[in-house]
C-alpha cells in the first residue's frame, strides 16, 4: 500500500516538476519530491519483501528463485502490455506526448525497482543461508551503504572524486565478497539445479529487458526535454527521474545481476557433481534411520532391512545379502536381488577356496575376488565386499555386497558401509539393552507381587488363648523370602502353631510358602500327632518341591488342659525355652530332618514328637535363621548365644515388648536399616 501511494505521489510530482520545467515556471511542488518519493518507494518495497520473503520459513531455494522469476514475469508482462498500448496508439499525439512517455517510463521504473528489490531480498536469504558472524556484519554494512547511497542521491552534495571512487570500490568489493556465498547450491538436487538454471536465465532476460526499456525511455525523455526546452538550463533538465543518474539503482541492479551470474555459473558447474552430494545426503539420512530405529519402536528386523537397503544404495551394489544371528542364535538370511540359494553357493564356494577375511569376519578388507568368483559357475558377480556386524565385540552377522563389475568397490564405499554396519550394530545392541531393561523391570514387578502375596499369607491375627500371650513379627528383605508362621485352634484346649522357612527366595519361595500354609490349615485340623503332621506334610510336598529345595519347619500343639507342648522339629532352628522356675533359658535338643529332603517313606525315621511341659511365666521363642545369621559390620553373626541373652534380659515383659527389644537389638547389632535376609520370630509367653 505504502509503496503504491509513494509511487503515485512520485508520478504526479515528477510530471508536475517536468511540466513546470518546461514552462520555465517554478513548480508548485518542490524539486526534490520525486526523488524522495522514489526513495520512499524503494524503502516501502524493501520492507514489503522483507516481511513477505524473508520471514517465510516454508520457502526452499527453488521457491525463492521462483519468487524472483514470478515477480519478473508479472513486471515484464505488465510492461509488455504497455508497449502494446503504445503500439496501438501508433504515432498519435498522445503517444509522443512527453507526459505520457514520462508516466509510461515511471511505470516501468516502478516495476523494475520492484523486481530488483524482490530479487535483492531473495539473494539476501540465499547468501545468509549459512550464517556466520562476519557474514551478517558484512551484509549489514552492505545494506547501510546502499541506504546511504539511496539517501545521498537526493541531497545534491558534491563529493570529492576520490570519495565517490572509494565508495564504489568498497561497494564492489563487498558485493563480490557477499556474492561468493553460494553454499545453498550444494543442497539442490539434480532436478532442482536444472529448474534453478532455467529460472535464473529467465531472470536475466527480464533484467536485460527492463534495463533496455528504462534506459530508452529516460533517453527519450531527456532528448525531448532538451529539444523542447533548450532554454532551460541543463541542471533543470535532469530534474526528472533519470534511472541512470540514480547511483542506488545502478548499484542494486549490478548486485542483483552479479549474484545471478555467480549463481548461474556455480549451479552450472555443480551439475556434474550434484549426484555425489545427493548420495552423501542420502547416506546421512540412512544413517539417521538406522540410529533412530530404536526410538521409533521398530524391531531388529527393520534395522537389518534399513542396513541392507542403505548399504546397497550407497555403493550401487547389484546384489547383497545380510546374514544375522538372532538373540537365540538362529540364523536368518535377508537378500537383495539374489536368491538365497545363490548366496549360499557363493558362501560355500569362498569357504571351499579358503578365502580369508571376507566371510569369516576376521578382517574387513575388500579384496579383488574376481578370480575366485569367476570360477563359480553360473555366477554373474565379480566383486564382493563383506562386513561384520558387531554387538559388544561379538559378531552377530555378516553384510555382503556384490557387484557385477570386477573391483567395483572403492575405499570410500568401504568406509561408508563399514560405518553403516557399525551403526546397525549399535542400534541392535540398544534394542537388546532396552529389552533387557524391560525384562528387569518386569522381574522387579513380579518380585513386588510375590512380596505382596507373601505378606498376605502371614496371618493378620494370631489365635488367642487364656493360657498364653503370643506375638509374632516378620520383616523381609527386598528380595522375597519364604518365612512363614501361623496359628490354628484345634479344639477348646488345643492350639497348633507353626514356624517354617522355605529354602530359596523370590516367587518360588512365596509359592512354596503358600503350599505350606495349605498343608498346615488342612492337616492340623485333624489334630495329628506332630510327627504325623511332618510325615504327612513331607509326603504332600515331596513332588511339589523342585530339586534342591526344602522347607524347614517346627510344628507345635499346645495343650492347655495338660499344660504340655507337643512338637516336632523338621530341620528348623532349635526352640528356645525360658523356664521361669529355673530362671534359665535353653535350646531344645532333638532331631528332625527338613521337609522335602527325603522323598521316600523312611522319612518317619528322621522326625520325632517331643514333649515339654510349661508353667506360668515360661517363654517360648521361635525364630528363623535370618535372626541368628544377621551379621554385624565386622561380619560376625548374631548367633544363638546373643539371642538367648537378649531374651533372658527382657523375659519379664510382655511377648510384644520382648519382641520389640529383640528387633531393636538386632538392628543395633547389624548397624543398618537394611536387612539381607528375613527376620521372623514368634514369642509365646505362658500365663
Amino acid at each position: 500500500m505504502g509503496a503504491a501511494v509513494t509511487w503515485l505521489v512520485m508520478v504526479f510530482s515528477d510530471v508536475t516538476v517536468m511540466f513546470s520545467n518546461m514552462k520555465g515556471l517554478t513548480p508548485d511542488v518542490p524539486m526534490w519530491l520525486p526523488r524522495v518519493m522514489l526513495d520512499l518507494y524503494v524503502i516501502c518495497l524493501f520492507y514489503y519483501y522483507k516481511f513477505k520473503i524473508e520471514r517465510d520459513e516454508s520457502l526452499n531455494f527453488t521457491d525463492l528463485l521462483w519468487r524472483v522469476f514470478a515477480t519478473g514475469l508479472v513486471a515484464t508482462v505488465f510492461s509488455l502490455s504497455l508497449r502494446m498500448v503504445d503500439f496501438l496508439l501508433g504515432s498519435t499525439r498522445l503517444a509522443s506526448n512527453i507526459f505520457f512517455i514520462d508516466v509510461e517510463y515511471l511505470i516501468n521504473l516502478g516495476l523494475l525497482m520492484s523486481f530488483l528489490v524482490a530479487a535483492g531480498t531473495c539473494w539476501k536469504r540465499l547468501i545468509l543461508y549459512q550464517k556466520s558472524k562476519w557474514l551478517i556484519r558484512g551484509w549489514v554494512v552492505f545494506e547501510v551503504i546502499l541506504l546511504i547511497v539511496l539517501l545521498s542521491d537526493n541531497i545534491q552534495i558534491v563529493l570529492e572524486e576520490w570519495v565517490i571512487i572509494t565508495g564504489r570500490v568498497l561497494i564492489c568489493i563487498l558485493a563480490l565478497v557477499l556474492s561468493a556465498n553460494m553454499k545453498w547450491v550444494a543442497y539442490l538436487n539434480f532436478k532442482q539445479k536444472w529448474t534453478s538454471l532455467l529460472l535464473l536465465l529467465l531472470s536475466f532476460f527480464y533484467l536485460g529487458y527492463f534495463f533496455y526499456t528504462v534506459n530508452k525511455f529516460s533517453d527519450d525523455i531527456g532528448n525531448q526535454l532538451k529539444d523542447l526546452a533548450g532554454t532551460v538550463n541543463p541542471e533543470d533538465a535532469a530534474a526528472f527521474l533519470d534511472f541512470g543518474a540514480h547511483a542506488f539503482n545502478i548499484y542494486l541492479f549490478s548486485f542483483v545481476m552479479l549474484y545471478s551470474i555467480f549463481s548461474f555459473l556455480v549451479i552450472l558447474f555443480n551439475l556434474p557433481t550434484s549426484s555425489v552430494f545427493e548420495q552423501k545426503l542420502e547416506e546421512v539420512v540412512n544413517f539417521q534411520r538406522i540410529s533412530q530405529s530404536v526410538q521409533t519402536e521398530q524391531s531388529e528386523e527393520s534395522v537389518y532391512k534399513i542396513l541392507l537397503e542403505s548399504s546397497v544404495s550407497s555403493v550401487f551394489a547389484d546384489a547383497a545379502w545380510l546374514e544375522m544371528k538372532g538373540e537365540h542364535k538362529e540364523a536368518t538370511l535377508q537378500t537383495y536381488h539374489i536368491s538365497e540359494r545363490d548366496a549360499r553357493k557363493i558362501q560355500e564356494h569362498l569357504g571351499a577356496r579358503h578365502v580369508k577375511g571376507i566371510l569369516d569376519q576376521s578382517s574387513d578388507k575388500t579384496k579383488n575376488l574376481s578370480d575366485q568368483l569367476a570360477t563359480l559357475k553360473g555366477n554373474r558377480f565379480r566383486s564382493i565386499m563383506a562386513f561384520p556386524v558387531l554387538v559388544k565385540g561379538e559378531k552377530i552377522g555378516t553384510l555382503a555386497l556384490l557387484k557385477e563389475l570386477p573391483e567395483g568397490f572403492n575405499k570410500e564405499m568401504t568406509q561408508i558401509v563399514s560405518a553403516f554396519a557399525n551403526q546397525a550394530g549399535i542400534s541392535i545392541e540398544n534394542f537388546r539393552l532396552l529389552k533387557e531393561a524391560i525384562q528387569n523391570e518386569r522381574y522387579k514387578e513380579e518380585l513386588k507381587i510375590a512380596k505382596t502375596v507373601q505378606k498376605s499369607l502371614l496371618p493378620d491375627k494370631l489365635e488367642k488363648s487364656d493360657d498364653f500371650d503370643i506375638s509374632a513379627f516378620s520383616e523381609s528383605a527386598d528380595e522375597v523370602g519364604g518365612d512363614y508362621y501361623d496359628t490354628l485352634r484345634i479344639n477348646d484346649h488345643q492350639v497348633s502353631l507353626i514356624i517354617a522357612d522355605v529354602s530359596g527366595k523370590g516367587t518360588t519361595a512365596a509359592f512354596h510358602m503358600s503350599q505350606m500354609k495349605g498343608i498346615f490349615h488342612s492337616l492340623s485340623q485333624q489334630a495329628p500327632e506332630p510327627k504325623d503332621f511332618m510325615v504327612r506334610a513331607n509326603q504332600a510336598l515331596r513332588y511339589c518341591l523342585e530339586r534342591g529345595s526344602f522347607i524347614s519347619a517346627t510344628y507345635f500343639v499346645v495343650d492347655s488342659s495338660k499344660q504340655i507342648i507337643y512338637y516336632s522339629r523338621a530341620g528348623h532352628c532349635p526352640v528356645l525355652i525360658y523356664k521361669a522356675a529355673e530362671k534359665k533359658a535353653d535350646y531344645l535338643v532333638d532331631k528332625g530332618t527338613a521337609l522335602g529332603m527325603i522323598k521316600g517313606k523312611d522319612y518317619c525315621n528322621f522326625v520325632e514328637t517331643n514333649t515339654i511341659s510349661y508353667a506360668t511365666g515360661d517363654v517360648m521363642v521361635l525364630f528363623t535363621d535370618g535372626i541368628t545369621e544377621a551379621k554385624s559390620p565386622k561380619g560376625e553373626e548374631f548367633g544363638l548365644e546373643l539371642l538367648k541373652k537378649t531374651i533372658v534380659d527382657s523375659v519379664e515383659e510382655s511377648p510384644k515388648a520382648i519382641q520389640e527389644k529383640l528387633i531393636k537389638r538386632l538392628y543395633e547389632y547389624t548397624g543398618t536399616e537394611e536387612i539381607d535376609d528375613d527376620y521372623t520370630t514368634m514369642i509365646v509367653k505362658f500365663k
Binding site: 534342591g548 530341620g571 529332603m597
Partner: protein, 116 residues
C-alpha cells in the same frame, strides 16, 4: 564367593570347597559335583575345611544328590567341617543323611569301605 578345586587321588575325586556358599554360588557347587559324576566318579570326597558358611541353597545342593547317589551307587563323604558349618547340617537334619567325617583320613577310609 566360592572356589572349588578338584583333584583326583587313587581313584577318588576330591573337591575342595573354599569360601562361602550362598544362593548364587551354590550353582558352582552343583556344577562341580555334576561334573565329577558326569565323568564317572564313584567315590567323591568333599573337603569342607575352608568352607566358611553354607546357606540353605548350598545345603539343598548336597541334599539333591542323596537319592541319585544311592541309585547310582556313588559314595560321597564330607570332611573337615568347621563347627558352625556342621551345625547348620545338623539343625536341618542333613547330617543324618550324609556321610560326614572329621578329617580326610577317616573320610577316605569310609569311602573305601562303602565302595566295597
Amino acid at each position: 564367593m566360592v572356589h572349588i578345586k578338584r583333584l583326583q587321588e587313587e581313584g577318588t575325586d576330591i573337591l575342595a570347597v573354599v569360601g562361602e556358599i550362598d544362593a548364587s554360588s551354590s550353582i558352582e557347587l552343583d556344577l562341580a559335583i555334576a561334573k565329577s559324576v558326569g565323568e564317572g566318579a564313584t567315590r567323591i570326597l568333599v573337603d569342607c575345611s575352608a568352607l566358611e558358611y553354607i546357606s540353605s541353597a548350598g545345603l539343598g545342593v548336597f541334599m539333591s544328590y542323596i537319592e541319585e547317589f544311592r541309585d547310582k551307587n556313588i559314595n560321597m563323604v564330607l570332611f573337615g567341617m568347621k563347627d558352625k558349618v556342621i551345625n547348620t547340617f545338623q539343625i536341618l537334619g542333613l547330617a543324618d543323611l550324609l556321610h560326614i567325617r572329621a578329617n580326610k583320613l577317616e573320610a577316605k577310609k569310609l569311602v573305601n569301605e562303602l565302595s566295597v
